[in-house]
Each structure stands twice: as structure tokens, then as C-alpha cells.
């Protein structure tokens, strides 16, 4: 009962936020370019343009246009993406969304699998050599220009290894389209498609190797954030009385840390993981551009550079929705991890 009320209230609170994002982007994007471009192409005769302007209400004052946009939005018409040969924005999103989510998930797996153990090690061996090393490693992650890191990774792991004739990681794209020319996406998640629909283990392996570099590159920042959070919350928990008690009982250090301390130390980390998802979407913009990853981020950059208004609006709305949802999920997970928290 309480949980349901909490979810409903959170969704009601999220509505003005999403609405605000929508409004700001709409007005911003209409300063970027002329909206007529959304509906015409090079084959449109000049005489047809006034008719198009009138039929889409573009001769109306801005606020009326805005309401027309909202109306279309709620009817599932997000406009057409000019930079994607006038395909509907919703279709482009449906096609590219899996690519970005797949990359973000892999990045998150890297970040969590490396970040949490590093944080624990760093906290339990505070002020030792390994702690200093981990701290600098994670600070470097926070201060790393992701686009430069991507290029450098590519240079070493792809270009240099390839020159030396050694096995190397692929430098871009989602799979080797020369080898697997027959492949067609079904769900859009290549790791799923390759196994479930294409029944091809080599393709799966190939896709996995394509994911390693961009995934790690994108995940490094998140990993750094998780490591720092994990370290500080672990240190805080280890100072608590119940930890002293557990040690006094004669429990081994392993049990104290992994059974008693970890659960409480994880709580703030989970929040950070949830919030970092928004950061991953931003990082994806740069990573996808460098690794020719045909995802949402790459689309967003080309959309802004070519004044593709509908695409800008669509992408921003989508990211805002993801962000709001991630926040909601974080709050719910928070409640299960920490029973002391009452929703209300």
C-alpha cells in the first residue's frame, strides 16, 4: 500500500521535470534551425513549401506550434529525423536504442565488477600501497578526457597490435560486417540476436570483442565513481560499533567484511550506480562517435550538427525519461537494501 503510494507520488513529481526538459529543448531546438526543414527534402518543389508550412501549422505563433508539437507527441508522432533520411524519430530510436543500452550495460558491468572490489580492497588496506594506487587510478578515471582515452586505447589495442601482426581488438562498429554479411538484427541487442536468432557462436564472440574497448572506455569514469564511493562508505561502516562487536566475537575478517559490512556499505554505492546511468548516456555521445557505434549518442551529435530538430527533441526526451526512471528504481532498491527507510 505504502509502496504503491510512494511510486505514484514519485511519478507525479517526475511529470513536471520531464515536461520542463521537453519545453526547454523544444524552444532551444527551434532556435537552432528552421522547423520547415523537418518536412521537406531536396525533391520537394519550391511551390509546395508554403502548403507544407501551413499544413504543419508552422505559420502559427510559437506557442501554438508548441501545443501542436505536444499534441503530436502524445499521439506517438515524434516527428521525422532529417539526418536519418526522414524516418520517424520513434523508429530510429527503436532501432538505435538497443545498441546504446547494450554498450551502457557492458560499461556498467565493467564498472561494477571492477569498482566494487577495488573499493573494498582500498578501504580494508587503507593507507597502504595498494590504497594509494587505487585512489590515483580512480581519480584518473574522474579526470580522464573520455574521447582521448578512447583514441589512445584504439591506438594501442587495435592499431599497434595490428601492425605487429598480433591478435588485436576491433577498432569500431558493432560486428565485422564483412565476415557476417548475412546478419540481420531482430531485437537489436547483438549478443542476444547472435545466439537466439542467428545461432552463431563466432558472431557472438566477434560482437563481444567489439564491445570490450568501447565498453571499458565508457565504464572507466563510472568505475572510478563507484570505487571512490565504495571506499568511503566502507570506511564509514568499518568504524561502526557492530563491526567491532563482530570482530570481538572472533569472526574472521572475511566474514566481517563480506557478511556484515558489505551490505551496509553497498547502500550509497547503489545510489551512485543508478545516477551514473545518466552519465553513461552523456559519455556514450563521445564514445560512440569515436568507435563508430551506431547508437543514440552518435545520432544525437549528427542531429545537432545538422539541425535535425525532431531528433534533438526525441533524444533529449528519451534521456530525461531514462534518468527519471533510473532515479525511481534507485529509490526502490534503496528501500529493499535498507529496511530502515520507510517510503513516504
Amino acid at each position: 500500500m505504502r509502496l504503491r503510494d510512494f511510486i505514484i507520488r514519485r511519478i507525479l513529481l517526475a511529470i513536471p521535470v520531464v515536461f520542463g526538459v521537453l519545453t526547454i529543448t523544444w524552444f532551444l531546438s527551434h532556435m537552432v534551425g528552421d522547423p520547415v526543414v523537418m518536412y521537406i527534402n531536396t525533391n520537394t518543389p519550391a511551390s509546395a513549401i508554403p502548403g507544407i508550412i501551413r499544413s504543419h501549422g508552422l505559420d502559427q505563433p510559437p506557442h501554438i506550434q508548441y501545443f501542436i508539437y505536444l499534441n503530436n507527441l502524445f499521439h506517438g508522432d515524434w516527428g521525422e529525423s532529417t539526418s536519418m533520411s526522414f524516418r520517424p524519430v520513434t523508429e530510429v530510436i527503436a532501432q538505435r536504442f538497443p545498441a546504446t543500452i547494450e554498450l551502457a550495460l557492458v560499461a556498467m558491468v565493467f564498472a561494477v565488477l571492477l569498482g566494487i572490489p577495488l573499493g573494498i580492497i582500498s578501504a580494508t588496506r587503507k593507507d597502504q600501497m595498494i590504497d594509494h594506487f587505487t585512489r590515483i587510478f580512480s581519480l584518473a578515471g574522474v579526470s580522464m578526457p573520455i574521447f582521448w582515452f578512447a583514441i589512445m586505447l584504439k591506438y594501442v589495442l587495435y592499431y599497434q597490435l595490428a601492425i605487429m601482426g598480433l591478435p588485436h581488438l576491433p577498432g569500431g562498429y558493432r560486428y565485422d560486417s564483412n565476415r557476417f554479411y548475412w546478419f540481420q538484427y531482430t531485437t537489436g541487442f547483438i549478443l542476444i540476436d547472435s545466439l537466439v536468432y542467428a545461432h552463431s557462436i563466432p558472431l557472438f564472440v566477434d560482437a563481444l570483442t567489439h564491445l570490450v574497448m568501447p565498453g571499458f572506455c565508457l565504464g572507466y569514469l563510472t568505475m572510478a565513481i563507484i570505487t571512490r564511493m565504495m571506499r568511503s562508505s566502507m570506511l564509514e561502516v568499518l568504524r561502526e560499533d557492530y563491526i567491532t562487536l563482530a570482530r570481538a566475537k572472533g569472526l574472521s575478517e572475511k566474514v566481517v567484511i563480506y557478511r556484515h559490512a558489505l551490505r551496509n556499505a553497498l547502500i550509497p554505492t547503489v545510489t551512485v550506480i543508478g545516477l551514473a546511468f545518466g552519465g553513461l548516456m552523456t559519455g556514450a555521445v563521445l564514445t560512440e562517435t569515436i568507435f563508430q557505434w551506431h547508437g543514440l549518442g552518435q545520432w544525437a551529435v549528427s542531429a545537432i550538427l545538422s539541425a535535425d530538430l525532431a531528433a534533438i527533441n526525441g533524444f533529449t526526451l528519451l534521456v530525461a525519461l531514462i534518468f527519471v526512471t533510473a532515479n525511481l528504481i534507485v529509490d526502490l532498491v534503496y528501500g529493499t537494501l535498507d529496511p530502515r527507510i520507510r517510503f513516504g
Binding site: 526538459v21 531546438s29 579526470s143 574521447f147 589512445m152 548516456m281 563521445l286 534521456v319
Partner: protein, 443 residues
């Protein structure tokens, strides 16, 4: 033994023979304040008007000296208005007017120099005249002693902080890196062997440390890029550009964020509710995308527009931070004490609450300068920055990337510079968080 009441110097009645000096000081400060307000106003209003007219599509060519000066103009105008208030209050010989005059005029002189105008330079010298007048014997005897007395505990705290800084090696390393970069950036015209946009066509794609093919030219320490630009020199000049962007963005974000956060935290109510919803919206935006859209909406891809876009995206962080701090401080006893002696809301906020929220702001600002540096370089990397050829780190990486199999050093060094500066700022921010934290500050 009874404690004798020690008269502070500002409680001593004015010596009639020195009133003349005070009148001169008052008059000059009044002139200075009016001058600052007008000068800042011209820069701010002029730049904004020109860009609006340009945006509307009229062919105007703004004079060179006004382009991109709106932020610094705004700052100077605000300082001018504060100076007007100081000049008006000088007549009452209140202690705060003297120290405030000292600070405000020094900051104004600095901002005037930052405008890079020759008028600005003359004005800066003029603004410093009242500061010199403060040290006339008659005026000085009135405020100096109390000022020093007030400064002693602060100085002691500052010395203690310096002591803690010296004890943490990582902070020292960070400070050394930052100071080195700032000095190198300032001295670039003298240190750099080549000019920022100089192209030696005979020297394309030379590896680091190789001599120039043109006889008599200096060695290319860090190699050359595909169009014969000296990487080392371009990085030094790029430091000027990138550091200035990062610092201005953070300062403007702090000013806007502190003002809005403090006001909304202090008064609460509808205004607060509205501001928090607005910041929610900004936090739900993908920051990079918002900045890109703003750059495009502003009309042209340039560093100035990147700065504006980042200012717009960054102020909510500070609004949130300051608001939270103000909510905590508002309930404390010293605020109530100030209120009970009749201090105005503005006075309580500016003189009592905001100084107590400054520490988290400093920590956040240090780390954010690194973050802004990354985002600004990222924006110019994907093509939202200045036109090709300008020495800017992000752009250098973008251009070098096209030839990175031939001259990888043209990509490596600029990126490494970004990493180094940003890492240094994070090290310092991380370290001073612990140093400034009163809970961890044991004596």
C-alpha cells in the same frame, strides 16, 4: 585585576583635522563606483544587444572590443553597484566600509585587467587610487588596527591550513602541477618556441625531439602535427584558452548559483519550490547534449558560446549546494543573534550565512574546474568549438585523430595535458575537502 575595556579603533571619535582625507576618499570612491557601473554596463548591454540583433538576422558588425565581454561586463557592473553602496556608507565611518572598499576595488581592478582593453587598464589604475588613499595616515589610523585585529585569527587558521597542505603530498603535487600550467600559460609568448597558429610546412609529422628542417628554427620538443604546427607551443597557448574557459565558467556558475541558492534557501516558500523544480529539470538533462543545443542555438560554434552553454548547464549544481548549506545555517544561533540586533536580511545573508557556506563551494569549484575543462574540450572535440587552426586542446585532439597513425604524439600530448590539469584539480579538491572540514580539523 579588572579587565579594561579595549576600545576598537572604529569606536574612537574622528579627529576633526583628518575629516578632509575622508572626504577625498569618499568622493573618489563615488567616481570610481559610477565609472565601474557605466563601463560594465556598456560591455554587458552592448554585447547582449549586438548578439540579439545579430540573432534576429540584421547585418551588424559589433566592434572588436565588445565581443564576448558580457560576462565580465556584468561582473564589473555588479562590483560597481556594490561600490556605490560602499561610497554611500563611507560617510558613517563604519568599519566594514573600509575593508569592503579594499576588497571590492582590488577585485574590480583585477576584472578590469581581464577585459583586455586599454581603457580597462587605465580604469584599473584609477580604481586602485582609493585603495592607496586608505593608507593615508589619518584614514589608516582609523581602520587598520581593527582590520589587523580581525584578521589575526583568520591568518592563524590559514597558516594551519597551509601546514596541513604541506603534510599531504598529493595536494602539494596537484598545486605544483596547476601553478606550473598557469605560469607556463601566462608566459607562453616567451616560453613557446613557435607561435600558436604558426605552420612550418617543411616540418609536418615530425616525432618528438626532432630538429626542424628549416635551418635556425628551434627543436620541436613534442613533435609536430600534420600541418606543421609545433605541438609543444600549441599546448602552451592552448592552456591559456582552456584554463580561461574553465575558470570563467566556474566563477559565473558560482555567482549565479550562490545568489539563487542563497535567496531561495533563506526565504523558502514558493520561490524555493520553483527553483528546485528548475534545477531538477537541469539535472535530468544530458549535460553534454544541452550544452551542444545551446551552442547551436546561440548561432555560431565558438569558445565564447561553449562558455555560455556551460555556464547555463553548470549553475544548478551550485544553487543546490548553497541552498542546502543555507538551510542548515539559517537555523543556527548566530543568525538569530544577528537578526535580534536588527541586521537586515541582505546583511545576514552576505556577511553571516554565505561566508559560512564558502568551504564546500571552494571544494566543489576546484573539482568542477577540472570537469568543465573536460566537457569544454569534449565539445570542441566533436566540432562545437573554435574553427580549425586555433590552438585549443580538444580541437588539437580532433585534428590529430585524423592522422593518428602517422603522428600519434599530436593526439597524445594535448590529451595528456587535459588529464594532468584535471587530475591535479581533483587531487587538490579531494585533499582540501579533508583539510577544510571542521570535523576532521583537530588541533
Amino acid at each position: 585585576m579588572t579587565e579594561e575595556y579595549h576600545l576598537r579603533s572604529d569606536e574612537i571619535p574622528i579627529d576633526p583635522s583628518t575629516v578632509g582625507q575622508f572626504r577625498v576618499l569618499w568622493f573618489l570612491e563615488l567616481v570610481v563606483s559610477i565609472m565601474l557601473t557605466i563601463l560594465g554596463g556598456i560591455l554587458f548591454v552592448g554585447d547582449v544587444t549586438y548578439s540579439i540583433i545579430e540573432r534576429l538576422g540584421y547585418p551588424v558588425v559589433p566592434p572588436d572590443w565588445i565581443i564576448g565581454k558580457f560576462a565580465i561586463g556584468f561582473a564589473i557592473a555588479v562590483l560597481g553597484l556594490i561600490a556605490v553602496r560602499i561610497a554611500a556608507a563611507l560617510e558613517n565611518y563604519e568599519m566594514w566600509t573600509f575593508s569592503a572598499l579594499l576588497y571590492v576595488n582590488l577585485i574590480s581592478a583585477g576584472s578590469l585587467i581581464l577585459t583586455e582593453l586599454s581603457t580597462g587598464l587605465y580604469a584599473a589604475v584609477f580604481v586602485l587610487v582609493p585603495v592607496v588613499l586608505l593608507f593615508l595616515p589619518g584614514v589608516k589610523s582609523y581602520w587598520w588596527e581593527t582590520f589587523v585585529e580581525d584578521m589575526v585569527p583568520r591568518l592563524r587558521e590559514f597558516r594551519y591550513s597551509m601546514h596541513l597542505v604541506r603534510k599531504s603530498p598529493l595536494v602539494v603535487v596537484g598545486i605544483v602541477i596547476i601553478v606550473a600550467f598557469v605560469i607556463l600559460a601566462l608566459l607562453a609568448p616567451w616560453v613557446a618556441p613557435y607561435g600558436p597558429e604558426e605552420r612550418i610546412w617543411a616540418d609536418t609529422n615530425l616525432p618528438p625531439g626532432s630538429p626542424s628542417n628549416v635551418p635556425g628554427n628551434p627543436v620541436h620538443y613534442w613533435g609536430t602535427d600534420n600541418s606543421g604546427g609545433d605541438v609543444f607551443s600549441r599546448i602552451l597557448y592552448g592552456a591559456q584558452v582552456d584554463l580561461r574557459v574553465a575558470i570563467t565558467v566556474v566563477i559565473v556558475a558560482i555567482v549565479i548559483g550562490t545568489f539563487l541558492g542563497a535567496v531561495s534557501g533563506y526565504y523558502g516558500g514558493k520561490l524555493d519550490e520553483l527553483l528546485m523544480r528548475v534545477t531538477d529539470v537541469f539535472f535530468a538533462f544530458p549535460g553534454l547534449i544541452l550544452a551542444m543545443a545551446i551552442v547551436m542555438a546561440l548561432g555560431s560554434r565558438s569558445l565564447e558560446n561553449i562558455s555560455v552553454a556551460l555556464m547555463v548547464t553548470w549553475w544548478p549544481t551550485y544553487a543546490r549546494l548553497v541552498r542546502g548549506q543555507v538551510l542548515l545555517e539559517r537555523e543556527k544561533l548566530y543568525v538569530e543573534a544577528a537578526r535580534s540586533v536588527g541586521a537586515s536580511d541582505a546583511r545576514i545573508l552576505i556577511y553571516h550565512i554565505i561566508p559560512n557556506t564558502i568551504q564546500p563551494i571552494i571544494v566543489q569549484a576546484t573539482m568542477d574546474t577540472g570537469a568543465v575543462l573536460l566537457v569544454a574540450a569534449g565539445l570542441s572535440f566533436i566540432g562545437f568549438g573554435p574553427p580549425a587552426g586555433i590552438a585549443e586542446w580538444g580541437l588539437m585532439i580532433a585534428k590529430g585523430q585524423e592522422y593518428f597513425s602517422i603522428s600519434p604524439w599530436a593526439v597524445f600530448f594535448p590529451g595528456f595535458a587535459i588529464l594532468l590539469v584535471s587530475l591535479a584539480l581533483n587531487l587538490v579538491g579531494d585533499g582540501i575537502r579533508d583539510i577544510l572540514d571542521p570535523k576532521l580539523r583537530r588541533r
